[in-house]
Subunit: 245 residues, 2 copies
């Protein structure tokens, strides 16, 4: 058997998320069905991490093991040919050693959160950005974000359902940029907690619209209490953009 | 009665286009239903021009006449509240004089055509860009486009179904720009013929991929024969971006 890394783009709209579930169609489920159709066997497609229902990806990475006869081109073209949805696309297939693991070998995960910041909502980006109608001050948001960079206990920013053993994470960077009506939050870390970026974004929007002083982000962090941080931003503005190994 | 101009954004995916038709849902149909729900009367929503099935808009403009009691805010919020789809959004409502006409008073129409120029297609932009897998040389495309600027007989670039009396049009500008994997064609004119931008784009892609010399665009134009220009680009990459008065 040979192990391949695949880079996957997906439109998470109306999907139940990355992980297979009884309740609906998942990215992993679509990929495993395509891999079975291609290879004639049961294939586990192991992602670098889960994404929630509605969350998108430009660069999710997963690994799968297939018989020796397949090469990179056959995996790339074969999976795309067998995929039973247009919402999932394999962008690249790369042969890797058997020791490489999409989840455990990943050294850096990057996400982008997109906000449409204008008075009226959008028809074109309604599933692809969070519409925030209040003016947001991105310098204030950046000041708030800076309190979160580094190694911290992120209890205040993790979902109650989060299964990670430790709430300690090391955030490498959070950058807030704006072009025209679109504000993007770019965040990188070795790994994130469940809902961490959505909780951070929702909190920073409180800062950006002037409801919170940037220092309140530090106080929320120090409280180690989910109730002390802001509400979660909705899933449809979030993109898993890149996984590094 | 008072006349309003409304600026409309829409996602044309799976719609039959701007104009009302028996065969399916249209932007005009949705807006007229919303206007009727808001005002209690039959309201004609007159667009600056039609767009085909699958074509999008960031800035279509239409006019409608409503009773005196409505102001700009009531029209903007009322229409958006009554719209029975998320694919259409009113961005602005402006009270104008009764002589203003969305179609006949327009002095400039601008469109954007978006091409995703990379090997593998996209899940996220599958309904919003034309995927062209061959490398495209945008300098060659611009050279080809330059032959089309100015006043010409565009018989070679109009749809057979085009209802315009004259094939003469005056193109003010065509600019081809590239950022990362995305190539955009920006075109402006007083008005365009049916399918003109899609036929121009399809022709310029022949140039960009090296099948045509840029001068062949001039020869196609001079031939005044639709068969001498390139194939039409698909509708889902096209956006009506701006109407000026």
């Amino acid at each position: 058997m040979k192990r391949f890394f695949i880079t996957v783009e997906y439109d998470g709209t109306n999907l139940v998320g990355w992980q297979k579930q009884q309740s609906g169609e998942s990215v992993q489920g679509y990929l495993e069905k395509a891999a079975m159709a291609l290879t004639g066997r049961d294939v586990l497609v192991q992602g670098s991490g889960r994404t929630d229902a509605g969350v998108h990806a430009m660069g999710q990475v997963a690994h799968l093991d297939v018989p020796e006869k397949f090469d990179e081109k056959a995996i790339l073209q074969g999976l795309n040919a067998k995929l039973e949805t247009k919402q999932v696309k394999v962008l690249e297939a790369r042969h890797v050693s058997d020791e490489m693991h999409a989840r455990f070998s990943a050294t850096k995960r990057s996400y982008i959160y997109r906000i449409l910041n204008r008075k009226v909502g959008s028809a074109l980006s309604r599933e692809f950005m969070w519409h925030v109608p209040y003016p947001l001050d991105i310098e204030m948001m950046q000041q708030g974000a800076n309190h979160l960079i580094g190694v911290h206990d992120f209890t205040s920013f993790r979902a109650s359902a989060c299964q990670a053993k430790s709430p300690i994470r090391s955030i490498e960077s959070i950058e807030i940029i704006k072009q025209d009506d679109v504000i993007e939050l770019h965040a990188s870390a070795i790994s994130f907690l469940h809902n961490q970026i959505r909780n951070i974004t929702g909190t920073l929007v409180q800062v950006g619209r002037g409801k919170w002083h940037p220092d309140m982000v530090l106080r929320a962090l120090e409280a180690k209490d989910r109730a002390k941080a802001g509400p979660a931003a909705p899933p449809h503005g979030l993109y898993l953009s890149k996984i590094e190994f």
